[in-house]
Structure formats: C-alpha cells, structure tokens
Amino acid sequence: MRFSRLQKYIFSFITVFLLLFCRRDEQTAWDVKILAPLAKTSLTLHNLIADSLHRTNADGTISLVYHSRLAEATIDSSLALPDTSNQANIKLNTLTLDPVTVSNTITLSQLVAMVPDSDLLQWAIEMGLSVPIPPFGPIVQDSIPFDFGSYFQTMTVSDATVDITVHNHFPFPFTNVEFSIRNQGNDSLIFQQTIPVIPANDSVLISAHTGHKTIESRLYASTSISSPGTSTPVQLNPSWYISSTVSIHDVKIESAIAKFPPQMVIYNADENAYDLEGIQFHHIIFQKGKIRIEVYNTLPSPLHYIYTIPSATVHGIPFRVEGVVPAASGGHAYHSTNECDMTGYDLDLRGIGPIERMQNKDLNNNGYFDPDTINTFYNEVSADITQTTPLIPLSLNDSIYIRGEFLGMVPLYGEGFLGKDTLVIHETATFSNFLSGISVEHFELDSVNLLLVINNYIGAEGAVKIDQLTAWNTRTGQSATLAGYPAGAMININKPAKPFSPNDSVIPAQTMVEIKTGLCNIEKLLEIIPDKFECRFTVFINSGVAPPPPGKGTDFIYYGKGIRVEMAASVPLSFLARKLQLCDTVPVDVEQLDISSVSGQRFHVIAENKFPLTASVQLYIADSTGTICDSLITGAGKINAGIPDEMSERVLKPVKSIIPIDLTEDKIEKMTKKRHLIIKAVFDTSPVDKKIKIFDGDNLSVILSGNFNYRIH
C-alpha cells in the first residue's frame, strides 16, 4: 500500500507529538540534609499548678496557696422533731332539740257532752237558745292526747321547760283549771299545774320545768275545769271552744331518740408539748412535714369536724383542717383520715398564752392568761352534727375519737435555747488537685503558714477543740500528725449575728486559728506532699451558758447549717528536694506525621533551664493501660540546673543542656500504635543541701531539634 505525501506527513506529525508531549508520571526528587527545630514547649509553674493554687509575692517568689473545706458538721439531728401523736376520746358536750309544740281544742258541744244528763243543754245549743249558764264543774277531761312522735321517740332530760297556753273562747271564765301531762306508756307524771282562772275570751300561759324526766313522744293531758257560769243569758254558740297548746323547749338532753337539729356537739382545746431533751424552742419554721388527722365517728349521724392549730400559721393564716365523717352503722364506727402538708408553717411553741393574749380570751378558763412556755403548741377540735333524719339515738355518753399525728416534721429554722451539746466531727478530706502526680524522696520546706477558719453558722456560743489533724500521702503511705499549738487547745467561737428574718441567710461568725512553723510541726505535714487530711474536732455548744427563761432564748439554728472548718495554706516555694518526680501520661497522635520522606534522622532535645533544679527526663512509649514498650531517650537524659545569683537567689540566665532522642521509624511506628507517651522527670534541687526559691518567670524551655535527610519531590 502506498501512502500519499500528506498521509506520510500526518503520520510523522502524530509520532512526533506522542514523543514530545507524553509525560512521565514520576517526579524529580533529591535529598537534602536538614538541621532545624521541629517542636518546642515550655514548662512553667503554671503548667504544674493551677493558677488558683499559687500566687506571686512582692519579691517575685512564688507561694503555694490552697483553700479548701476540711470538715463540716451540723446538729440537724437535734433540730429534728420527733414524730408526735396525740389522741382524744371526746364525749358529746351538749345535745339539744328544737322546741316542740302540740295543741288540743275542746268545743262547747264536746264540753257539754262531758256533763251528765246534758241532753237538754245540747238541744238548747242546737237551737241557739239564749240561756244563762249556770255554774258548773269540775268537769274532768281525761286522755287528751299530745303526740310528739314527729320530734322524738323518747328522751331523758335533765331539765326542760314546758309552756301551756290556754285560749278561752267561751263567754264565761273557767276556774281552778288543773292541767297535768303524763307519759302514755308508763303514766309517769311529766307536768302538773293549776290555773286559777282563765277569763272569758282570754288566754293564759303557764310555764314550768320538768326537772330530770324521761319523756315519751306520746303524752296525754288531763284537765279539770270549773266555771261560775254567766248571770245573764247568753246565746248558746256551738263554735265556742277552749284550746290548749303545750310547748316543750330548752330541753337539756341526756339521751334521746330524736330528730336532732344541726348543732355543735363537741368542742375541745388542748396543748401538746415536744420532748426535745434540753432544747427549748419557742419558735419553729417547718421545711417539711405533715399532720395526719384521724377521726373515728361512733355516732349514728355524719359528723363535721374542724381541727385548728392557732399557733401554726403560714402567711398569717392559722392551720385549719376540716372534714366530714360518715355516720357509724351496724355498730361499727366510721373513720376518715386527712393529711395536710405543714411545709412553711411557722409554729409558735410558747403554748396557749400568746393565743389568749391575741384573742383576749381566757381559752382554758383558768381565770388568767397563761404565761409563755416552750416546746408547746395549742390546738382546738370541734365537731357538729347535721340535722338528723330519721330519728337517731344520741347520748351525752356518746363520743368521737380523734387522733392527730405529726410526721416527718423537719424544721427549717428554730429559735430558742439550743441547750448544751457536744458534737464530735471526724472527717477525712481528700485533695486530688493539689500537687497531684508528684512524688518525692526527700522534701524540706522553709516555712508554712496554715490558717484554720472555723465558720460557725449555729446561733449559739461555743468552743472547738482540735483533737487531731493528720496529713496522709496515700501513694507513699507516709503520714504526719500535728503536734504543738493549736492541737488540743480549746478555741472559743463566736455566735453569728441573727438574720433580720428567718428567710435571710445567716452569715457565719469566723474564727481564725493560725498554725505556723515555730509553734508546731506543721511543715512536717506538708513535706510529705499530702493528698489527704484526717481531722477530729470536738464542738461544745453553749458550754457554761445557763438556760434563759422560757420563751426568752436568743439561740437560733438553720437546718443544714452547722460548723464548717476550712483550711487556708500558704507555702512559700522555698524548699529542698531530692528525687521529686513528675509523671504525666499524654495521648499522642502521630498518624498525620509524614515521615516517608525522612531518613537518617537524629534528634536532640535542647533544654534551657531557669529552674534551680536538675532534671533527669525520660519519655516512654506506652499504651492506654500505661504498659511501657519503649523509651525515646538514650543515656541519662540530664538537664542541668539553672545557677541562682548569689545576691538575688534568682536564676538570671538559663543553662542549656542537650539530650539525644532516639526517634527511629520503628519507634514512631510504636507511637502510632500505642498512642501514649509517659513523661517522667525527676528533679533535684541544686545545690543539693541548700533550699532554693522558685520565682515567677522561672521556666524550662525545651526544643526538639532534628538533623535528618529529607527527600524533596
């Protein structure tokens, strides 16, 4: 096949282009030798100790400061009120009935019928003849019924008033009207009276007491009447009548089967006292608690009760609870329970006196207003029955049972006299963030100032004795106990100022106790680098204080507030140390580190030390459990100490040290897998036998420098 010239040209063109413009994928590369810093860090006191735990003094030196709670206790157990219950079987005070009235009427015809041989007279009445009425009598009418069955069935009264009203509608008077009422059942006399005269067309009222009687609902009256008649003829009118109305009222029932009207049947007032073993409260505010009222009703009528504690108020409103207990039935009493929350109630424990004075009323009828007392409150119970249908039996021997129970009463605030009490505080306080991670073989401090701050929130005088103060280093097992002042000394504590109102917070009275080098061995406690303090204090409340008159105590207490002891330490960093070891485990992420282009690496740590401490440093590769698999520093890894100036005792110029780091690819691979680095540094003060000072600004700066081949692409 022959190609045209153009075809040959195109073929040549394509060939050339392919040759010229096809590129290789590789990149030009070469190695360079690098000497450069890679990373830097700095160690200052701020890294080791939180800023809140140290301060810079005027001369530039550093003092460690620490303020923490040491121990705390309250006397809330004394404040707690025991669960109290009081119960009463209360008989009915009174029983009354409404006045009952029954009437009876005798007409002329009925009256004439009672007269023997009165046919003519009856004819004359029918004829309406006018005749003079001759004197007659006595006419005895027997068995005039009076039925009180709709009011009562029977009742025994200690007394009752019977009113008889006689209306004479005859034109002539009646005289010597004898009136008697008897029980139909046993014919016992209830009432007997004689009315001398009842004028014509007039009425007369007679009234008398029954005395102690048993009255049945069916009564009958007997009457005997006489009359002088009329001297002149009168037209006989069959509408003439005489009526008598019997009314029984002011009934003082001892027992009855009756339809009782609504009435209060019980009223009881009482005082209840708490036994608080020497504590005299005259005022308490409850933070929680409840009162349970149980009422047992034996009456055959529903009972409405009201229970009040006038001396317990919230927002000025006295405590009051009421309820209705259904009637007993089948011989079984019915009971109801009512629970009420007493949270926030302010209880006056001075007894009935303040209530009497407030109401201006002798509530217990002893003839005077009672004086104030303590731990006592006043309460009232009343009960009433509603109108009873059908007839029910009630008696003054009937009673209701009422039980009031105070449960879980916890005061928020109490005022009075707190009594004499002794409180032992034994507590262990752990300090996890104070020089944590540090251990030391030998450590000497120049001086220590430690302040015990006793905060008294209890509103009473007192004293505190420091029985024991021991410092522990749980890592090394070392301990040291305070000897010398103020161990064993009795320290008086003041009473805090009473807040304006119980709702305000109490500001504690502070008592400072200085514990310093020279008076005791306090520096020994801190030289062991403690992480735990064990302390025992005895607190004496009102020791040597006589109880005040009842209701006049000025002590006070808030729930949850007691005695709090704090420790404030100030330790100048002037010390001598041997083998002071810092150890820290840090997660390390080296996965992003690209070392594929690095070879022949040699690394150094260049340290510039302004601390007057020599350091031996080692870096360990470890896993998350702290298991070490390799180290990075070959050799001693020693960092030389800064040299303090003789005059200022301060390191003015840092001292340089160079430590080789063995960071091979294998070790980087281990770091990638294990992902943790343990940094261990052991410090010794330099010179070894002299205490050195740490100044603000002292630091140890470290640079990781690398000398390696790097392949550039």
């Binding site: 190695d31 360079v32 000497l35 000398n707």
Partner: protein, 397 residues
Amino acid sequence: MKEGNRVIAVIFFAGVLVLKVSSQEQKILAGTSFEGSYFSNALSCRFINSFLSHQFLSDEIKNSNRPRMNNAFFLNNENQLYIQSATDRLTLKFRYASASSFPADAYHLVFEGNEAYAGLTATMHPMYFMQQSYQTLEYGKIKSFSTNQWDVKLYGGIGLVKGQQLTHLSCSKGLLYTAPDGSFLDLDLTMTYRYAENGNHLLAINGIGTSLHVDLQAESKDKKTTMQWTVSDAGIMGWMNQSREMTIDTSFRFDGLAIDLFADSIAFSINDDTISRWIKQHEHPFRKIKALPAVFSFTLTRKISHSWDVTAGTKLYGCSRMSFPYLIADISYHPGEKHRITFLLRYGFYNNLNTGLSYLFVHPKWFIRADCLHVPSLIIGRRSFSEGFFLSFGIYL
C-alpha cells in the same frame, strides 16, 4: 494521544487543508522544527537533564555542578509546526523558556539542605527564577520584492498566544541563619512569587496574549551576501484566572512548632496541608500583563567560494537576563545542492564558548536538518554546562 494534542492536530490540519485548497497551483511546504538549548555557568547538563527527566538527583549528579558566587541558567525549548505557501504561512508554536540567577547559598540550601550552614548565615539573594510555557497560533504573509541590490523576502506574522503556565520568583533579600545546634532558624526574606498553574497541560488557559513575528531576509543580487533579521515572540501576555501572587516581606525566628505537653493530647500534624494553609494566607490574585520572552537575531552570510560560506551573527533571548548577546560564527561547506555541513561556533551565555555541527539534506520533495549546537557536551557529558539541538523537517505537498 492526549486530548490537547488531539485538539491541536485538528486545528492545524484544518489550516493545512485550507492552505492546500487555496494554494492548489503552488507548492505548499509543511514542516516541523524542534529546538532546545540550555546554558548555565553552574548547573551541568547532566544535572539539568536528570532534573527535567524526573530522575532522582543523586549526590553524584549534584556533584557535577560547579556553583559559584553568581549562578545562572537559561533553558529554551521551541517546537513548531508550520505550513506555508509562497505568500502565506500558518504556524503552531510551542514554547517553553526558563531562566534563573541565584547565589551559591541558594543552590546549596535547595539541593543540599542547611546542615552545612550550622552557625552560618546563608545568603539567598539576589535570586530570580522565571518559567513560562505557552502556545501560539500564528498567521503571516510573505512578501517578496527587489531593490537595486537586494532581493528581499519579508515575513510578518501575528500570533494568538495562549498562556499555559507561569512561574516567577524574585528575591531581593533572603538570609537564613541556622543555629549550630539546630535550635532555631532566623529567616529574613523579601520575595515575590507569582504562578499560574490552573491545570498545567496543553489545554490549560491561564493567559491570553498576542505576539509579532517579523523575518526579513535580504540576498544581494550577486547571491554572495545574505542578511537576515528576525524578531519572534515579540508580544505580551495577560495572565489571569488562577494566577496568584505571593509577596513575602518577613523576618522571624522559627524555633519549632509549639506544643503543650499538658494538653489533653499532643498531635503532630506537620504535613503539606500545613504549608498550603500558610501559603493561602499570604497569596492574592495576580493579573498582570507581561512581555513574552522575545527572541532577536541577526545573521550575515557571505559566500567565500563555490562551496564555502561564512556566517556571523548574534542572538538575544529576551528573558535570559543576559545583557551581552549570543554571538554566532558559522562556516558551511556545501559540495552540492543536496548536502550542507556547517561548523557552528557560539559564544555568550555566561562566557561559554561552544562548538557545534549542522547537517542539511535537501531532496527535491523534502528536506531534513539536524543541528547539534554543543558537540563537546556529547563527549564530555557531565562536565558540560551547555547543550542544544535543532531538528527540522519539511515536505512539499
């Protein structure tokens, strides 16, 4: 075949067909040429060849260099496809030019590292580096005319230039001190760096420009003397799109990346992203019109006998930063019409004297020419600091 190549082939052959159709009665010459030249007073040919061919630069290769107080190199590559008739010419050019001047410390730092500068200050200024690649589609007219003494052929062409890639770096102050123990580096640097590299391939358009090509050839009436003036790639390019410029004027001490040993964790994340982020913070868009690396040349050829010619001339590359032009002196032997052998003598470019050979074979229907501009580099290899070639092929369609 890559996409860019395919597009260029389509464009060019369209032009070929146009010209062929429009010049059916005349001979059409289609040709291609490839030219590359490299000059340096410090970096050897072996080194630069290894660098460009993406090899690993071993110590042996680096040792072939001879860095001195002031170092420079110039690299030029120009490839063409053209087709021309008696009056018209269509050319597609691919140009790559790179030039640099730098002090010895800069060379050592870049290629050997700073270890040798422990306790010393390395001076990296003044330093200059330029690298451009672009493509030109040029159309020109050929005009022939005569005077009393000369037959003149004048060519003028206008090109549309597409910028592919630009890298430009100038450092007016660069001092690097390395602490003896490697604890810190002090860097004082004033530098401007520009680049346009949004996809460094043939289809990448990072700039648009225009160029002028003028070629004037005058032959005496007695055919004994020929003069030629050439100006090519005289033009401008506007760099745009993703062109970026980074200006650094800083003086700082680097003593390591700060880490906190007492933090929750220590993370080492030094990688290319770290550097890239830093770069992005200091760069901003760059849009500027810059001159193309023009080439100026003049030659004068005198026939001294039937078979011998001598040629003298000069060539100046606009981007080479060489104030002294490149001198040309050639002697040609052409025993007949078909063959021409030329002995090339070149002087310039960092005071290098180079000799070369050129061979031209002319066939009635085609020709081929091959020049080796620096024959000694073929012999001494590693010790040569300049090299060049020219290859041309043409065919009459």
